[in-house]
Amino acid sequence: MLRLEKRALPSRVAMLVAPFAAVAFTLLVTSLLVAWAGAPVGRAYALLLEGGFGSAFALSETLTRATPLILTGLSAAVAFKARLFNIGAEGQLYLGALAAVAVGGQHGGSGFALATWLLFPLMMAAAAASGALLLLGPALLKSRLGVDEVVTTLLLNFVVLLFVSLMLDGPMKDPTALGWPQSVTLQEALQLGKLVERSRLHSGLLWALVLALLLWAQLRFTTTGLQIRAVGANARASAFAGMPVGWVKVKVALLSGALAGLAGAIEVAGRTGYVTLDMSPGYGYSGIVIAMLAALNPLGVVAAAVFVAGILVGADSMSRAVTVPTYIADVIVSVSLLAMLVAAMLAQYRIVWQRGASRAR
């Protein structure tokens, strides 16, 4: 029979190798899928790599895609670290985007007549606040009533998307968009500048990197960070030691929701300029995968986000050249997640085979 034996000290080397092993395994498995689609595996993967990382343009596209992914990844990482399973990042992202446009949009004229240096932070704050408040509900339901936050946050995603659709059909509709459901555009002055000319890469990436660094520093060096880590690892012991567990969980919920809300605002301010119903192809959910790949480490999230973004962008480009559907990207991402979970587990446990456990007559 198979038995899992906990290692006395988790192997640090194994933890570092784990993501790479997971990815390698994934690519091996998905090569079968590529072959099934009738495409030459080697060439397909080469195109994938090229499309994601092979040129300056590819890199800029990848980093553009990575920007919201870093933020949703951070959102998931901080929440999961405190054992708050926030699956609602998708909805929080959209709500944040909507809030940003509500505050900073042109609204058929020139929008709110406030100085940019005032309006911009206000816009970002509104986005962060809406994401935060959206998650606060399910978080409180969990701590007060024991309602599982996985299902509530998931269901809320659907509700929020419908709400956004409602807004886009009505009060926030862009009258000049010829009937296409699209929100009013953001004021020019509020849009984020480009990092690289003639690409879509915008300064939102810098924001994301700074936030990743800040989150890492907070978790490692501050008392709040210690509280978050302690409460996530053992809430009872933390309560006994006198930590305000309920309040810590609220802080985490606000932080996680805010990060996802900011992801939406930054997408609007940097990439699109307005809100549409399909502006996020599942960034919220991908954030969870990214957080797990990074073992909930904020700095690791940056690397994992770039990796996942590269796969997504590369798959798009690959599917244009060979007959491999773009869904391969989601397959790669999900298999990486499962493989990463197994690899991380192997770093903590040893698998032991033992004689015995034959069926008794």
């Binding site: 029979m1 034996e5 290692r7 006395a8 000290l9 988790p10 060096f221 501050t222 008392t223 709040t224 210690l226 880590r229 302690a230 690892a233 053992n234 009872r236 012991a237 933390s238 309560a239 006994f240 030691a241 006198g242 033992q354 004689r355 015995g356 456990a357 034959s358 069926r359 008794a360 007559r361």
Partner: protein, 524 residues
């Protein structure tokens, strides 16, 4: 009986059983035999390997080396089903019963083929009641386990094995959770089992019981079988020495010179959500330089009492004062007021296992100015404090990583020393030690060496002026340490009388509420 005849009547035979968990050698080439109709005691201190051995016997673990024979037939390893089929039954230390299901369901489980499309419940119910009668273990088949008392649950555990026709019964520390009276009841049951022809393996670390109940005693120490002797030829001193391998000086208690009232509870009551009183008008005075022990079977209100004194909750009625002041129900307030707290469950409540040693060492105080400035943790100060603590309190098991070692890598004893150090060292800037020590089952699951260490630390702190509250289920420990003893039952606390005024049977009586009945009889 000649050796040959003894061999012939052996129902169980273990040969060369060896088991390793990583680098720990839990069982070292143990060979043992169980005779027909005999009660064999397996004696050893915590961590000696007793539970491991019987778990191997029952099939929960697979031995690395060795064989087992039951009733002359080899026993397939690692297979509880085979063990059950061979007539071996086990009453686990932590009951393996499902609270939400009935007694009948728990007993019936696994006795019918899985693919059978129906269940013969009426038959089973009848057989269960019959078996109960035969062995003197009354039971209500349709009662939910959640509604049963600890003693009743143990009866169900035993019946589970008997229902399946066990001829060999293993009892793992069965009296750990029983009152003295319930233990008596258990011993009577064991007699009945032997009369009916069963053979029993009785695991314990309590010398009195072992001498009383068993015919032969096998002593384990650090994984090896160090002696097998008839109970008639054994005495407590010899057994203790065999168990520990050396003479152990118990902690020395000096005469108490109690000082002023450090902590006073007046009419404290705690009511839970269902309206049941967890604590009922409790009065207690804890004085500096004195050890007061609370005896009682677990689940009679100790948790609520400990919660109040640890600052986790305030009484719903009545008052608690520390140093004459009423403190808010906040652990931080109580910690700051000089209360050292040792929780009941070191793994689940005492430490955050995933965090490194140094963070656990300052777990109660990392937000105070001693270890943090403007929300940033002062790592160097905290790590220095941790190193200090580890040295002073002899915490072992820090490997190459030192204070960064994840705390769950520590053994139980070392973890408890860490918790002890954290509680007793307290605020590094404070002049005096703690004023009140709340120790909840502080030596549960520890080996004799660690137990003696913890006891000495508590007594030293007491001599330095702290008031000590000891909550324990171990009467030996209570009698060894306490200056005064109070007994808790159904949330009510008896008067805390000096130790000399208590006898074992009086305490046992009080643990079951007998004293109140006695008092009301006297008044009538």
């Amino acid at each position: 009986m000649t050796p040959a005849a003894a061999e012939a009547s052996a129902v169980l035979s273990l040969r060369g059983i060896t088991k390793r968990f990583g680098s720990l050698l839990a069982n070292d080439s143990i060979s043992l035999e169980l005779g027909r109709g005999e009660v064999l005691a397996l004696l050893g201190e915590n961590g000696a390997g007793k539970s491991t051995l019987v778990s191997i016997l029952f099939g929960h673990y697979v031995a690395d080396e060795g064989e087992i024979e039951a009733f002359g037939e080899p026993l397939p390893p690692g297979n509880p089903k085979a063990a059950l089929a061979a007539g071996i039954g086990m009453v686990h230390q932590h009951f393996t019963l499902a609270d939400n299901l009935s007694v009948l369901d728990n007993v019936l489980l696994g006795t019918e083929p899985l693919w059978q499309p129906f269940s013969r419940r009426a038959d089973a119910r009848r057989r269960l009641v019959e078996t109960g009668k035969r062995f003197g273990l009354g039971v209500a088949p349709d009662a939910l386990i959640a509604s049963l008392s600890v003693g009743e649950r143990q009866r169900v555990e035993i019946l589970k094995a008997l229902f399946r026709g066990a001829r060999i019964l293993i009892l793992d520390e069965p009296t750990a959770v029983l009152t003295p009276q319930e233990s008596e009841s258990l011993f009577a049951t064991l007699q009945q089992l032997v009369v009916e022809g069963l053979s029993v393996i009785f695991i314990s670390h309590k010398l009195d019981e072992v001498l009383r109940v068993s015919r032969r005693i096998a002593v384990l120490r650090a994984g090896r079988l160090v002696a097998t002797l008839p109970a008639a030829e054994a005495d407590k001193a010899r057994l203790a020495e065999l168990m520990v391998g050396r003479a152990v000086a118990p902690a020395r208690r000096r005469a108490a010179t109690p000082g002023e009232d450090t902590c006073v509870l007046q009419g404290a009551s705690v009511t839970n959500g269902d309206g049941r009183k967890l604590l009922d008008a409790v009065n207690l005075e804890l004085r500096a330089g004195e050890v007061v022990a609370i005896a009682g079977v677990s689940g009679n209100g100790q948790e609520a009492l400990a919660d109040i004194l640890c600052g986790l909750r305030a009484p719903d009625a009545g008052r608690v004062r520390l140093g004459g002041r009423v403190l808010p129900a906040s652990p931080q307030a109580w910690i700051a007021a000089g209360v050292a707290r040792i929780p009941e469950d070191r793994h689940a409540v005492g430490v955050v296992g995933d965090l490194p040693l140094w963070e656990n060492a300052v777990l109660e105080r990392f937000a105070t100015p001693a270890f943090a400035t403007l929300g940033v943790v002062r790592r160097r100060a905290a790590q220095a404090h941790a190193r200090n603590l580890i040295e002073r309190y002899d915490v072992r098991g820090t490997g190459a990583r030192g204070v960064e070692t994840p705390t769950r890598a520590l053994s139980g004893g070392n973890m408890q020393k860490l918790i002890l150090g954290r509680a007793l060292m307290g605020d590094p800037n404070a002049a005096a030690g703690p004023r009140l020590i709340v120790a909840n089952q502080p030596t549960w699951g520890l080996d004799i060496g660690a137990v003696a260490y913890v006891h000495q630390q508590l007594l030293d702190a007491c001599a330095a002026g702290a008031a000590v509250l000891l909550i324990s289920e171990d009467l030996d420990e209570i009698f060894a340490l306490a200056d005064r003893i109070a007994v808790i039952h159904h949330g009510r606390l008896t008067e805390a009388r000096p130790t000399a005024q208590w006898t074992l049977s009086a305490i046992g009586l009080a643990m079951t509420g007998g004293m109140r009945r006695e008092a009301s009889h006297a008044a009538a």
